[in-house]
């Protein structure tokens, strides 16, 4: 009786505690010449303040499209479903249409770090001016204050000679330095939510280690929520609290990072881990996942992974199972088909 009461109480608590970000039933489709492509299919994610949610998946799995949907950066031919919600601070950003509303999220409440820092800085504008520009857009401050904030931020991310770098162009910085500057720029408006899309992929390992440590410090210091997108499971293991594994636009497994990486249940997650060369276990053979990712134009019906699943159940093979996450252990969600096919 008491425990039942407690359960109700905690349930209510969870209900009243609002998340920093909540994505509900998001479908994203693109209208192209070849037909309508499903990029995201029924994705729901939650993120709390101070937490890092890792999204892993191979190319074409919809990781970046998910992040871009949050900032509404997808191209003009994008179609969202009507009942999809992306809620930040009790507001559904998918309903934003006016420039002012969009400004609030783009660079205001939400900032994004991109993979290729060379491509994300304007080549002919000094780094400092690009930093000032966005600060003036989002904060009620003058140019001098903006410069002060920017230089402080460049210092904070470990750029030596911040004053000098402030007046340089992106091409004058090395790759690691550029990525630091990118992080400084993304953080200078003090966003609540940071979207990091493969922020370390273009960097060498030693520089990657530097940038990961820097990001971990900063996430803690500013208590932000972070969505960290990468294809590198090692990076996820080091930075994320929770992880969502995506395949062909669907989340197939989701849960705390330790649980997912040590006790993966979905055959795709297992496949990814087996295919990964592990430097601590050189005797393990590399096991590729058979086949290749189907084109999004002919996305499999039923379980999206069934065409490559090494041990699909009869029902799975025949596409009789609808996709949908099931909670197998507290916090550990696996796609329904992935739960069933294991038993065979």
């Amino acid at each position: 009786m008491v425990s039942a009461m407690l359960q109700i109480l905690t349930k209510q608590n969870i209900k009243t505690m609002s998340h920093l970000l909540e994505i509900k039933n998001l479908d994203v489709k693109f209208d192209t010449d070849e037909g309508r492509i499903t990029a995201i299919d029924n994705v729901s994610l939650k993120l709390d303040q101070g937490k890092v949610l890792g999204i892993v998946g191979e190319s074409g799995s919809g990781k970046s499209v998910t992040a871009k949907s949050i900032m509404q950066l997808n191209p003009g031919n994008t179609i969202y479903n009507d009942d999809a919600e992306i809620i930040i601070d009790n507001e559904n950003v998918l309903k934003f249409t006016s420039k002012n509303d969009l400004k609030k999220i783009r660079g205001g409440k939400v900032s994004m770090i991109f993979q290729e820092p060379m491509a994300s800085f304007a080549p002919a504008i000094k780094i400092g001016n690009q930093m000032i520009e966005q600060l003036l857009l989002h904060k009620d401050i003058d140019k001098n204050q903006a410069k002060q904030i920017s230089v402080d931020m460049l210092n904070r991310v470990g750029i030596a000679d911040a004053e000098k770098r402030f007046n340089q162009y992106a091409f004058e910085l090395s790759g690691g330095m550029r990525q630091r500057a990118m992080i400084a720029m993304a953080l200078s408006t003090m966003p609540k939510l940071l979207l990091a899309d493969e922020p370390t992929t273009a960097l060498d390992v030693t520089i990657q280690a530097q940038v990961i440590n820097l990001m971990k410090d900063i996430i803690k210091e500013y208590n932000m929520g972070v969505i960290f997108i990468t294809h590198d499971l090692g990076v996820i293991a080091q930075v994320a609290d929770d992880v969502a594994v995506m395949y062909l636009g669907s989340v197939v497994e989701q849960g705390p990072v330790n649980e997912i990486l040590k006790n993966p249940l979905h055959p795709y997650t297992k496949g990814l881990l087996n295919a990964l060369p592990d430097i601590n276990n050189l005797d393990a053979p590399l096991q590729p996942i058979p086949g290749s990712i189907p084109s999004p134009l002919d996305r499999p019906s039923g379980c999206v992974f069934r065409t490559r699943c090494p041990h699909a159940s009869q029902d799975g093979k025949e596409a009789n199972i609808e996709m949908g996450l099931v909670e197998v252990k507290p916090g550990h969600w696996v796609d329904r088909c992935g739960v069933d096919c294991r038993k065979v």
Binding site: T206, Q208, I212, Q238, V257, L276, L286, P288
Partner: protein, 330 residues
């Protein structure tokens, strides 16, 4: 007959560089005094970060970059090719025996040629086959060895995924029946599940066709898995070279140690204890004197710091070579 297929002796490659037409011409040493021997049938790994000179070294061995000093010798069954004295006719002969697999399977294949034509092109250019039937025969043979579906030969590259394209690239490199292959970051652009497939294919082909590989990569875990012997490059120099197990279990040079510790562990509980290197790789235009790593070395000896130690590999245990400065400071 030598047991090595490639000997690289004191090889340096420099490029001329001029900031603008008024300034003085400078020389950038991309590869500096390299000595390596690649054994027949081995899978030789070359690792290093961007700008370390691994690609330049690979290209120089293939004769695609000019050699500034030193030489590269290819030991064929019956004769040796010295790339510094070779004439153009012999070079053509050499190209049949040594081939390159590129990094990006999207950029390496012409979008206007069918897969059959792409794979057949080397045979036609090198005039290896005499008739179309013979060419087709060789193309089909190598395509099936590379696990390509023979029905796909009539299609164009755009119809294929990254992994399939890389298999087409491999088939093209192997069609002339080479003995030595330089694979330059050949799996870097691929997803992990496909990367494993291509690595297994390269291994399998090595046994089937008696190949020797020079495998260039920045990914240490990949190199650890496939290579027999590994050389670590930093700023144009080899700083450590050893059989792969030995190198990964018992690294000696501080740079190798830092590299290995920087690989993010797949175990979330094993939070990184990366040896953080300060700063970044210095510009090759202006490399540090003495030990090239001294500006970032976490525990450089006094002599190392003051650039009193000349670069040069020392054999610490049989087969395990470490740069002199790295032996002292470790």
């Amino acid at each position: 007959m030598s047991e090595n297929i490639i000997s690289v002796n004191n090889l340096s490659v420099s490029f001329d560089y001029q900031e603008n037409f008024l300034s003085k011409k400078q020389q950038i040493k991309a590869v500096n005094n390299i000595n390596i021997k690649i054994k027949k049938g081995s899978f030789f790994g070359l690792v290093g970060e961007s700008g370390s000179g691994k690609t330049t070294l690979g290209r120089a061995i293939l004769g695609a970059n000019k050699i500034s000093t030193g030489n590269v010798i290819f030991h064929d069954d019956d004769r040796d090719f010295d790339l510094t004295t070779i004439n153009s006719k012999e070079m053509k002969e050499y190209r049949k025996k040594a081939q390159l697999i590129f990094q990006d399977p999207y950029a390496a294949l012409s979008p206007r040629m069918t897969v059959r034509d792409i794979i057949a092109e080397p045979l036609e250019v090198m005039k290896i086959t005499n008739s179309r039937e013979e060419t087709d025969e060789r193309v089909r043979d190598i395509a099936s060895k590379c696990r390509l579906n023979l029905e796909h030969l009539r299609r164009f590259p755009h119809a294929f995924s990254g992994g399939q394209r890389q298999r087409i690239s491999i088939a093209r490199a192997l069609v002339s029946n080479p003995k030595f292959i330089v694979a330059d970051e050949s799996v870097a652009a691929l997803d992990v599940s496909i990367q494993a497939d291509i690595l297994n294919l390269l291994k399998q082909l090595q046994h089937e066709l008696n190949l020797t590989y020079l495998f260039i990569s920045h990914d240490l875990s990949v190199v650890a898995h496939v290579c027999d012997i590994v050389a670590v490059m930093y700023l144009g120099h080899i700083v450590e070279m050893a059989p792969s197990r030995e190198l990964f279990s018992n690294p000696k040079h501080p740079y190798t140690k830092a590299l290995l510790s920087s690989i993010p562990s797949i175990d979330p509980e094993n939070k990184s204890k990366a040896i953080e290197l300060e700063g970044e790789i210095p510009s090759a235009m202006n490399p540090p004197s003495g030990c090239v790593f001294r500006t970032r070395c976490p525990h450089a000896s006094h002599d190392g710091k003051e650039a009193n130690v000349e670069m040069g590999l020392v054999e610490v245990t049989p087969g395990h070579w470490v740069d002199r400065c790295g032996v002292n400071c470790a």
